[in-house]
Symmetry: C2
């Protein structure tokens, strides 16, 4: 049986492009006791993969050259010599960009039990993106009914979930996205009360117009000029969750920007870094809530599905160029 | 009876100097029903007074030209037609730079009941400075035993209280101050485990040496380059309380500095603006704790006392030039 992998062949500096990857076939080894074989169906494409491919300190060590690109993926167990996993189990985990994975369970995130939902959701709304939105908004941002919630990359996999959860709990939602397609998605697909096109509008003026009482919660996926504009419109007691910094490509040396201290002081606001892995003991709560809202049709999901391993080569680039129109997935099975 | 006032005669831009004030004598009016007369003994000199004198938006409107300079002060009730205040009561409040005040109670902060402690303490450790240190450290910074706590303007009225309260609850304390006199004060008077002279040392290197496990809590009174250095050494889950921004004199337009977002994200740290007025319903708790520690000799207080109204003219300048060696007070009675 063949395992088709996309390996990291060259070390990128910044966003990897197709020249940094190679498609390779290898044989699937026999299972030892305590192992099981997964036939992978979907690979995830996430902003964090840029950092994983680069040789810079991060939450985790960089991917070794020659290894399959690290990524979240979902698949089905097709053979097992492991007591905890049976044929037919659907599992999600850091399986990497490969079609077949022999696992001892260490790289498994969870068994996906919501088999009535599309399996690829386990990589987005029912995975890292949805749980990040859930805890980032409800815990870190401490959003509550009546709050005005501003979201950057508002049509993205995390942002669209943040906006919709905020709406479900009774917030007023304002999405910031780039271009007419994504801002229309914000309004029509994700139910934002207002959408701002940062490529066409003055963000500070647009925020002032959309948030007459100021910004209570800012779920920040970008940093940079968009965030600088939002920070000028904080309401008293505002909470800013820093979930991502997509607008800044280089952090060494530290880039300069407007100092936020006085804005935080005058508004008695708080700005907080958020990483979902700090909430790993409470994920079941998020999965249950998200699955419920999905089944009730209260959360819309947009996926952008690429077909086959070769399509992965430029996928991280697509993400950083903002060309995807939904959660970016590579379908491989 | 004469009331000697120091009035704001000219509008400063930035730090006021003696040319902006005038000493003036006026007659004390008779008491109406519901009023009482305070003979003021001590005026406070605080960093916030710079903002109060300038014509810029702030927490409160600027002092009107011709009015006594707004300040906290403490004194004794010497006549009363108010049912809530009796002759002999000691009161603290926003009484302004004047020797006699007719009050209806609206500008009174509290009755000072700890009459065994020096009365001037009501303007510092038993007033705004001590309560700011108490709630800023214990609530906003959420300091707990074992934490490494870094304090800027560590020998100042707020900073010295922060350092000592942190030590009392079992933290390791590192003070940052300017010059050998203040750093010695940090070690000898206020019990810091380490003191850093930002005028003579590389702050980032000194923090790294003094905080081998990183900074859990940073009580920031300065902003600017000192804070930029501390931010490079955050421990996981660090809490930064922004209490003051003394190192930055101009906020319009916003000054540039290193972006803090990635540091907050990687450390899952939080940065929060703090103002004591948000805790006004809980001040009694802080007064009780602080008075207890003072009586047990566990908190040392350093005051820098100027004599007489004329000494107030340059007092705010002294504070901003860093010339005071303790909580700056003007004794007028």
């Amino acid at each position: 049986m063949q395992n088709t992998q996309v390996i990291l062949a060259k070390r990128p500096v910044g966003v990897p492009d197709p020249s940094h990857f190679e498609v390779r076939d290898t044989a699937v080894p026999d299972l030892a006791a305590g192992q099981f074989l997964i036939r992978v169906s979907h690979w995830s494409v996430d902003p964090a993969m840029r950092g994983w491919a680069n040789d810079v300190p991060n939450y985790s060590p960089p991917v070794a050259l020659g290894d399959p690109m690290r990524s979240f993926a979902v698949g089905e167990v097709i053979a097992s010599r492991h007591p905890g996993y049976a044929e037919g189990d659907v599992v999600e985990g850091l399986l990497g960009w490969q079609t077949h994975v022999v696992s001892d369970g260490a790289n498994i995130g969870r068994k996906v039990t919501e088999t009535d939902l599309p399996r690829s959701y386990a990589l987005g709304i029912m995975g890292l993106n949805g749980t990040t939105a859930y805890f980032g908004l409800l815990e870190s941002c401490a959003a509550k009914a009546g709050d005005t919630v501003v979201v950057s990359t508002a049509a993205g996999a995390v942002g669209s979930a943040v906006g919709q959860i905020a709406k479900i709990i009774g917030c007023r939602t304002v999405g910031i996205a780039g271009g007419p397609v994504k801002t229309r998605q914000c309004l029509e697909d994700f139910g934002y009360d207002a959408a701002i096109d940062y490529k066409a509008q003055d963000v500070a003026e647009a925020i002032a117009a959309a948030c007459p009482d100021g910004v209570d919660c800012y779920f920040d996926n970008t940093c940079g000029p968009i965030s600088d504009a939002v920070m000028t419109k904080l309401a008293q007691g505002a909470r800013i969750t820093i979930c991502g910094t997509a607008a800044i490509t280089e952090w060494d040396p530290l880039p300069m920007g407007p100092r936020v201290h006085r804005q935080l002081l005058v508004a008695r606001a708080r700005m907080q870094g958020f990483l979902i892995f700090d909430h790993k003991d409470r994920l079941a709560e998020a999965y249950a809530a998200l699955a419920g809202w999905l089944r009730e049709g209260r959360i819309a999901v947009r996926e952008h599905v690429l077909d086959g391993p070769e399509a992965a080569l430029d996928a991280i680039g697509m993400l950083y160029r903002g060309e995807n129109t939904g959660k970016l997935i590579v379908k491989v099975g």
